[in-house]
Symmetry: D2
Subunit: 392 residues, 4 copies
């Protein structure tokens, strides 16, 4: 195609330093003709981001607004929370805030972590399907040994079980772990890798091996994760008295429910991974604010919404997020501003991840109701006109 | 559930000011017992974020690394680019950088914007399916009038066509727009809302109306968007000589191709929205860096990867991102650090959105090859051990 | 694997004769040790099945029961029908019959053919995505010529439009035809083949061509066909007064609706192609009875069910079958017993296919309500115990 | 809608008699003006179809052709088989026959039953997600008791395990049974019903119960069944030497493999439940011939095809049918002609169901290769022109 003399990005001996970052910024300024002034102004200690980024040059600053108080009746999160949302999309904070007000008046959001597991799913190939089946039986029989290998690599993780799926002459093993307060993709990778080394050393006849082949679908949405959970499976639910809906949302449960039915029908047609309204908005804003791995939004954007108009006229509404991948320790959670956002929620550090998952789900529920009501009440476009002034 | 005296978040007359932000920070510090010191330190002008966020308190700082040079042979992006990636996940920048090095040596990445459209999809209900069908026919016949209404609301957008989908006694109209350099969700919302007002005023017999019912699946992944494009549909492709793969990636095209086949098979089993490796990683990092609406990652995480080992042994590899939603104008793109990141790519402002889309796709392709090769060569877990030091 | 002397099936000069069939039956009797006595007893004229089957040996006899009267308020089917159902599954006819009784009392089933099209979807490969895009533009510009080629091959079919889908360096063209009273898979194959010959002769640069590559999904269920119709898209709908439901079905609309909500939720989890109950049962029985291509059940089993409890308490219920593939002419429709079954419905021969499609959909609706009510009323298992006596 | 005096179908005291059937035929003849002569001519004993059909009037006769010899190297099916195919679609038998010839020469088809289970999946609703979770834990702890209840209702079936899936405040229990030689939908219904009675009697707090809510997806295709098997999960595989492909199929493994890649890509776009060619054709024809429940084709039409060009140039090809629902006992298998078709395969009666499943899968594989090669070699449309003469 094209021939070029490639000018690699400069690296220094002491590469995680202000000097190295400055040198790189200067280099790309020169290379591109741009003059970045703000990227280099930040509160990060370059030495401290060594595990977060390579070729460090600085930081982007994402505006944070707060919504709340969010009233949560969880098992881990209890009481009122003020939720930091990092976003550049006007209306988002206001919309979540409106939903939080509604559900505060309704008595709060009940949250439950239904399941908790993280995966890595290697594939093993054989000469024939029959040999693949025999391998699957051996894996079942050897589970204790395999678990011992996996668990030896990590303090935070525990191998819970191995699901098996077959196609052609391959067996896909889905290793399910509990991972403590880490999201766990790396520890499960390491543990599964060790377990597979042991398997490969002890089982003859494996002709093909791949540590991951789309059965755990990291950073991708899939039916298997909707069915079987990846990260936390959290349900948030609330019941809104009819008069409250009318007063705060300017609509009725019946109207909202009819719109919900239509969304379900449309979703069947379109093959969507979420029959709700926009849970990715709130989840994305919390992920950026609290130093989560933002790419996990691919999976965490799936959602199952279920609603009922109760006999007395109140509106029961729930969202289940089947693959919410979050951490309160490691990764970006320890960076200065991100850590502060977690601290505002009382969620920084060990023992906090389920609390955080509950707050995320409760926040998502507020947004569902807020946007759902806005669409029905017809003031959706109006709100964007009023608040989203930075939009063309 | 619980009864509480709700303490609302303070707002000031001059709400987009340092004073208002500080007052809110103080308020939540008091309410939560946390003492946020870094969130308030930022380079943002509070008055300038009025269209980006409500209840503004400050900013989170996300580390940025650069990868490159990325050699692109696009129609809009041509030449070398240094790509800013905002991430907290160790290894990510290094992995993309490695892929860029490989594809630079291979002659670069060819990119093509295959399609470009943004949607809003209202639903209309009737007394019967037969009346729904009649409505659909009327819409087809009235297209010019409807377009006139829609187009009158926006300078940047143009209504291109209206796709119709039916189920039960409902017709879902998928309004397809071109939207210039904006992502366009808001302008399409406004234009479609106006068009629907006109429809509702001119067609009798509509019993139910909803401006959106899961046929455009904003912030959600869906088959309809994979088939029909939402935002930009971009393909990035490259051909890697066999010796280059061996040298840089420590594997062969044949081995990578076999792993690819296995990923396809696994993806069929799991019902995944992306048969590639991890395109969401690079896309997320570019979205955060450049002020995109991060929640769009839900749709933009879908990907179609296709590869071939060519007769001479070289490896043809491509990724098609069917719903890449990006902007170079409006939203968060004008914030100081985000704008600088776009400027580093020569992508800030009007007339740049396809260029930016091409760079995103080219970056994604580099990451696909890099991780794909790492998994095959077996050094995936090792790299995370070495670079991802902030992980538990 | 194994080495064998292969004994081919005997064929005679006059192969579609009783003699040839008898010779083959004798041959397999000898080869297998079985002594088939009934297969050879049938009312088929061997010469007349020449277009239906090869290596003809006889016939299987499938029991037929009738259900009805089914009251239909369609555009093509109007009045009462007695529906022949060929099945071996006890309870099936009784269940559909019960539903027909209910909906007769409710005033009948309204049916509407919403769309009608049959496809073939060839794929074209190029050196790059950019060339693929150029080809797509050329196809759009050349549509009239392409249509002329396609239409010249058939009297019954007309090319309506060509949808385009792209991925990597390929363009998939979905040719949509109307096909009169034939199901049309063969005529669309022939017409598209001719059109593609013309394309290949007139467009340079096509590197790969395949007449079908899973974008029309013949004999397979797919989202594209649910969205875009394959065969007939038919909706059947009815409204059941509350007291009628209680009386005939021993349940209430409210209870049935709640069960429906649960089915929708379960279907989201399981990734099902039909949120209804069992429409494949009635459709299969009608397909076998009337000489349809039974393999089309793969597509025709998809269904979209939508229900509402109306303000006054009545139950609105509908099913949309998005890919109902039927014929009243050609294929197996002219065989003696199959033709009689079509004649019982007044549906044999030309000009009848939409009438038949409406009756199929109306029948399906009756079965949905019948089983839906039975599951809710708790007499489902009981009915199978009582009627399905040939089951272990 | 319409008011009618309903004329019910006549029933006699001795309803499963020639007299009753004749009376009904006469009745519908009168009602419709048709004069069915052939439906009443059959070899069925009306008394013997009492468990297969209600309102019996006669039979349809479906032509049967045979294909073979099919060479199978299974665990249950071993050797040569002549396969009866009941179809009305010209070319079908010829196409399968051609594939059988190819794979006979290649040494036969290896088949493996990878899994075997039948389901019923009731849903239980609670006041909250938390109570749903508690119920799930109780079910796990009470498994032995539940199994005892379920197993007490059936000799053929055994409850193997209960998978749990949650959404909102519901738990879906997927009861997995082995069912011997029966397809098992009825026995699992009965067993699960009994188990649920016991559950409902012993667990307080169940607010909603439904015996089936789309998590077993009877008569419907779903991802959960592709992942988790419904009926038999069977893989058929074969390796074709390159020269054989060229000779018999007039194409090469490389060309077929490229077409396969394109089918995979198209299938990703279209969201298809089967990346193969047309397995539903052969499976439908065997289902009709052997008295299977034809509606199960909805599930059994799903297929996972995987192929490789081996280093030496041979073509490895496999199909996995994840939800093949078959029986060799009960239902329609005992009807005269259907039983003979099973006997031709040595598959009638107890202890034969896995053998039959293997033959079905081996047949499907032959059809995949035959059509796959025909499409690539370009003689597909030609074959239909030549053989499918009864087509318009």
């Amino acid at each position: 195609m094209m021939a070029r003399t490639r000018r690699p990005i400069p690296r220094l001996e002491d590469d995680y330093s202000r000097a190295a970052a400055a040198k790189r910024l200067e280099f790309i300024g020169e290379a591109t003709g741009a003059r970045p002034e703000h990227i280099g102004r930040h509160c990060l200690d370059p030495a401290a981001v060594a595990g977060n980024v390579e070729n460090f040059v600085g930081a982007v600053q994402v505006p944070v607004g707060i919504a709340g108080p969010l009233l949560v009746d969880g098992e881990h999160a209890r009481g009122e929370f003020y939720v930091p949302l990092a976003t550049t999309e006007g209306t988002l904070v206001a919309s979540y805030n409106r939903g939080m007000k509604l559900l505060h008046a309704a008595g709060g959001v009940q949250t439950t972590v239904m399941d908790d597991r993280m995966q890595r799913a290697p594939a093993f190939g054989f000469d024939s399907a029959r040999e693949a089946r025999a391998f699957g039986q051996w894996v079942t029989a050897s589970f204790d040994d395999i678990r011992q290998q996996a668990d030896a690599t990590t303090r935070a993780g525990r191998l819970h079980d191995i699901e098996q799926f077959s196609a052609s002459r391959f067996i896909f093993l889905r290793f399910n772990y509990t991972t403590g307060d880490a999201a766990g993709q790396n520890l499960t990778g390491k543990a599964t890798s060790r377990a597979c080394d042991w398997i490969l050393a002890h089982y003859r006849g494996v002709r093909r091996f791949c540590l991951e082949s789309n059965l755990a679908t990291d950073k991708k949405s899939s039916q298997v994760n909707i069915l079987h959970t990846r990260g936390k499976r959290v349900t948030a639910e609330a019941t809104i008295p009819a008069e409250l809906a009318r007063e705060v949302m300017r609509t009725t449960p019946e109207q909202m429910f009819l719109a919900r039915q239509l969304s379900n029908l449309g979703g069947l047609l379109s093959g969507v991974n979420n029959n709700g309204n926009h849970s990715a908005n709130g989840i994305a804003a919390m992920f950026v604010a609290t130093g989560q791995d933002v790419a996990n939004l691919a999976e965490s954007s799936a959602g199952l919404v279920y609603a009922e108009v109760l006999p007395g006229g109140a509106y029961y509404y729930s969202i289940t997020i089947p693959a919410l991948i979050v951490a309160t320790y490691g990764g970006g959670t320890g960076l200065p501003t991100q850590r502060e956002c977690l601290e505002l929620l009382g969620c920084y550090g060990s023992g906090k991840v389920r609390k955080f998952a509950e707050i995320v789900a409760a926040t998502a529920l507020c947004g569902e109701l807020s946007l759902g009501a806005a669409v029905v009440a017809g003031d959706w476009v109006g709100a964007h006109e009023r608040l989203g002034r930075n939009r063309p």
